[in-house]
Every structure is written in C-alpha cells, then in structure tokens.
Amino acid sequence: MDGGHWPAVLVVTPLVGAALCPIIGRRFPNFAGYWALGVFTAVSVAAGAVTYAVSTNGPFSYHMGGWPPPFGIELRFDEFSASVAVIALIGWLAILYSLSYAKHAVPEERLPYYYALLLLCLGGMAGFAVTGDIFNMFVFLEILSLSSYALVAIAGERIAELASFKYLVMGAVSSLTILFAIGFLYALTGTLNMGDLSVRLAGVETFPAAVAVAALTLGFSVKAALFPLHIWLPDAHATAPSPVSAILSGLVVKVGVLGMLRMYQMLYDSQVFDLKMLNDTLMWLGAISIVMGALFAMVQEDIKMMLAYSTISNIGYIFMGLGLASTFGIIGGAVHVFNHAIIKATLFLGAGALIYQTGYRDLKDLRGIGKAMPVTSACIAIGAVSIVGIPPTAGFLCKWYIALGAIEAGRIFFAVTLLFGALLIFVYYIRMLNAFYFTPPLHAHLMDVGEVPLTMLVPIVVLAILCLVMGVFGRIPLSFIEPAVIDMLAPLGG
C-alpha cells in the first residue's frame, strides 16, 4: 500500500468532522465554519498525498478492514480517483467563501447544519470517487445526494424547498435504478468488487447484463443531468446558496460522469457485449444536451439560471467525449470534468459575489457592474472566456481533444455540433459580458458598491488564475489521465 493510511484519512475525516460540527456549532456559534475549514484542510492534505502517490507509483488499493478484495471493501486509487484533488481544491475554496457568504444567505440557526452538510457532501463525494466496490459506491452516493438535497433547501429561498423536493424525487429514483442494476450485476456474478466484476462479467448472459448497463446509464445520466433528464437541475442549482451551487455544478453532477467512467472500465475489461449502441446513444444525447442547454441558457435573465443551463451544455460535451470511445474523446471528456469544475466554480462564486453585494440576480439589473466590482467581474470574464474555449484558457484543450476524438472516430457530424455548441455558448456569455462592461447601469447606486470581503474574493481570484494556468499548462492533466484511458481502451485492440 503505497499511500500509507492517507486513504482512510481522506474518507473518514470529513464524516467524523461533520458528526462533531453541530456540537461545536452549538457551543461556539461562530466557530462551526472554521472547524469545517480545518477539517477540510486535513482532507485536502490527504487528497494531495494520495494524488501524489498515484502520480509517482501508479495505481494502488487500500483494503478496508484488512480483508482482501472480493470479501472486504477495496478503495481503489487510479488516475480517475485523482479527482479527489479537484474535490479538495473546490471544496476548500467553497468553505472559505462560505465563511462570509453563508452569514447573510443562511439563517443563523442553520449554520452548523450547513457546514456539517457541506462536509458530508464533500466527504461522500471523496468516498464515491475512490471506492472500488459497487455497493459501497451506492452508499456514498446516498450520503452525497442526501446532503445535496438539504443544501439546496437550506437557504430557505422562495422556491428552495420545491426545487429540493424535485431534486430529491428524481435523485432517489435514479439511486434506486442504480441499486437495481447492482442487484442484477450481483445476481449474475456473485461479487460486488469492481475489479472482480470486470473479470467475472465476461461470459455471463448478455441480455440481463445489458439491462443492468442500461439501468446504470439511466441512473447516472439523471445524476449528471443529461438532457431529457435534466429537469431537476436549473431550479436546484439556481436557488442554492452560491458556494453550494459551485459545488453542485462543479462537482456533484460530475459524480454521474465518474460513475459512467467506472462502468465503462468494467465493460471494456470484460467485453461482455458490443457497446456500439450505448456509445451512440450517449453521443446523441450529449449533442442534444449541448444544443438545448445552450438554447435555454440564452433566454435566461437570472445569471445563476443561465450558469445552471450552461452546466447541462457542458455535461453534453463530457458525455459526447465518453460516447466517442476513442482515446482522444475520452481523455478530453475526463479532463473536461476537471476543467469545467474549476471554471464553473469561478463563475458561480463570482455570481454569488455580485448577488452578495448588489442583491440583484438579473442581468439587466447588474448592468455596468464591471466598473463597480472590477476584480470580481474580471474573474467572471476569465471564466466566461474559458468556458467558451478560446485558446489560451482551460476550456480550449479538452474541447479540442473531444473534437479530435470525433474526427478520429470518423464522426464529423459531432465535431461540427461541438463547434456549433461552442458558438452558442459564446453568444450568451458575450451577452453577459456586454451587460457587465458595455451597457450603462440601470441602477446608479450600484456604482458605489465595493468589492466583497477578502475571504470571498480570494477563492474567486485563485480559481480564475487556475483557469488561466490550466490553459497554459493544460497538458499536465491530459498526460496524467492518458495512461488510464489507454489502459481502459486496451481490450478494444488499440
């Protein structure tokens, strides 16, 4: 075990920290946020340690309870589970941001619960990302889903509970679909360990396996908000407090993508049936998501609503990359998971800062804010440029890779859709930047608002700088993830 005991620190600390959070919040009301930040600092260190271990020594696993894999639960650390590094980064910044933001957005009595739920959500995500056991995956999926539903409702905005309830029903149905699929896989193979499953799936009855795969895909597509199943997303992401929106949009929807990647790893390994139909479906749904998400985003007035629809569009890119089943496509898709997380966190935290200072959410009310809050607006502009995919920024390389993948797979149509989608995205972000910088303000008093407190400004600036850095050094995550993808596609014969 190369990672020492860091894996255990990574998954257990947030859960224990969250368990103590209400107690601490009751004793020292102002301390809960700092407690959460401290706990999550430890988690971040652990995430860094395991990522470092993966990058130097390659994949390794940690056997919970000391039982060897098919009998006990295995934590598996490979290039995909390095996503804990992104979870740690964005989670830490979101908690830091919350220290000021939550004070005015969340009712005071709920603050300890707010931080406990944040820790549970992030901890559940970390556990989900590193587990090597499908049932354990379901358990951690539930931790993170339950805490996300509650986090949507916790600010108590006008339709927050309704949005949360809609999210809960769809999320619970999708979790059950996933559990149903787990039952199918267990009945077919008698094992729950992913590595073991990919061996034993070879040679089982094809039709039940296909039903299981369809159910898993359905479940994870709901979690990831792929187009026809996205209806829970806009309300939930727009009504949640902004740091929560950043986590939901940046990380929680990616859980669906990560689940799909895990499923693909098993399927490519076992070659249980031809994946062409699944891949085609994903590609088409991805393409439709890109276009529809962008079209809906165009007509939104509310800035957070617009960002929420933009997430659907970007999830479309990722699924298209997965469905292409070519090395470039999957690398592009997987790296877009990381990059989109950073970019969307920048945008949501930036939008939250605007709302915090002005109290307005609509683009027309926020006109001219670029002069009043120059730093925040500049960061949002950087995020917008990145998400469109203009060359020196983070969004460019992965979209480029997905397009290359489409050409490599001989799917020119999808490469064209991708470019068209980028154009549409460009249009609505231009609309936003136009409102910020080039339109006279609607409310003159907005000119006097200053920048947000430092604890809120620092995360935004750090993320915006990362958007630029990821653009310049974008090859690093690409080459990091490449061996995993090549390994995954190896059974296809190149």
Partner: protein
C-alpha cells in the same frame, strides 16, 4: 390521456425488465454464482475469523464494516438535513416573540387510557428487549440498529401518549447532540484503534494475542449504532412534530 401514456411507457419498460430477470440464474439454486463465489468464505469461516456467529452481523460489522460506517453516516446526514430544513420555523418564531424559552407544546392528541396503560406497562420490557438485541446481536437475529430503532420507536410512543416534553426528559437536550453522532464516533474510535494496533482502518484482530479485543470492539460498535439510532430516530420525530 396522460395517465394512459404513462402506463403504456411503464408496460414498455416492463417487457425488457421481465425478460431480463427471466434470464437471471434461477432463484434458490445453490449452484448460483451468488452462492458459490464470495459467500462460502463468509459461511465457513465467518464465525472464527470475524467473531460473530450471526453471519449477517459478521458481514455488516466486520467484512463490510466500511459500508455500515457509511450507513450510519447516511442516517446522521438525514438528521442534520431534517434539522437544517426545519429549524427555520423556530427562528422566525423567536424573532416575533422574544420569550421563547418555553415553546408551547402542541396539545397532545386525546389518548385512550387503555393505550396509555399499555405503553406504560410495556415500556420497560421493550427497553429490556432492545438492549438484549443489541448485546446478543452477534449470536442471534437483530443487532445495534434494530435495537436502537425500537428504542427510538418507544420514545416516539411515549411522546404520543404523554406528550413530547415528558419523553424528552429521557433524552435531555444537553446530551442529545452527543448521542446523535454516537454511531459515527464509535466507528471512528474502533477504526482508529484498529489502524493503530493492527492494520488498515476498521481492522479487527483475526488471530493472535489481540483477539480478545474483538468482541468488545464489536459490542462498542453495536452500542454506538444502537444509541445513535435511537437518538436520531427520536430527534427526527421531535423535529418533524414541531416541538423541537
């Protein structure tokens, strides 16, 4: 019209599902992969190496203890979520009337004397039964969570019969926040002890001189789950009833 469409869609979904389940290995056969792959080790060696004659307990506390760690976190999440969603009502009430030290309890529902009598008589026995269930969870059916839920249900019954104020005296506000995460903390305690003395997180001794620790550790976890489960179930009820 809409209803007919939904039913048609569901019937359409039923066809592949039913066809799929008809091709699964036949139920009940001992030759199924579910019965020949992982499970034989649990059944043959579980009692010795995991330390519980009830193999289900052996699986949930030892082989797949990490799952159960997640499970208790899920129910703790539910509690925090319920409190997070519902405490707002109290906050607004506090602002409107400053004297909220003694919240007005909802008038108790009229309860027939027979019910009240039965609950009062049965309560000690139910408590005894659930403690038995927690202690003997590794040799007989039941275990921490079942016992804890029954205690929680008992607290709910007492709240319904004699009002929540009465029931809350059994679980005072001062110690409740410490009892709610008892299960998570018990897991962390045993997990770290295992990490320190034996190997990975949540390791139990399998053989050697430390093996005497195994039963106490299992019991700590069972009690943690029991206490936590009872406190959480009762607290969720009180929060939803509006008396908290």
């Amino acid at each position: 019209m809409r209803r007919a469409l939904i039913i048609a869609l569901l019937v359409l979904a039923a066809v592949p599902l039913l066809f799929g389940v008809s091709q699964l290995p036949p139920i009940g056969s001992t030759g199924n992969p579910t019965y020949t792959h992982v499970v034989p080790r649990y059944l043959e060696e579980g009692a010795e190496e995991a330390g519980a004659e009830n193999i289900v307990t052996a699986v949930i506390l030892n082989y797949r203890g990490y799952d159960t760690n997640g499970e208790v976190t899920v129910i703790f999440t539910a509690l925090v979520a319920v409190l997070g969603v519902l405490t707002f009502a109290k906050a607004t009430a506090a602002k409107s009337e400053p004297a909220e030290e003694t919240p007005v309890p909802a008038p108790p529902m009229p309860v027939s004397p027979v019910t009240r009598f039965i609950v009062r008589i049965l309560a000690p026995f139910i408590l005894l039964f659930s403690i038995y269930m927690v202690i003997y969870g590794h040799t007989s059916p039941g275990g921490g969570f079942q016992g804890g839920t029954i205690v929680g249900a008992l607290l709910i019954a007492v709240s319904l019969v004699s009002g929540s104020a009465q029931a809350k005296r059994l679980l005072p506000e001062r110690i409740r926040p410490w009892l709610q995460p008892a299960a998570v903390l018990a897991f962390a305690l045993v997990g770290v002890a295992g990490l320190w003395l034996i190997g990975p997180y949540l390791s139990f001794p399998v053989e050697g001189e430390l093996v005497f620790l195994r039963t106490p550790w299992l019991t700590i976890i069972e009690f943690g789950i029991g206490i936590g489960g009872a406190a959480i179930v009762a607290s969720i009820f009180w929060a939803m009833e509006g008396s908290d």
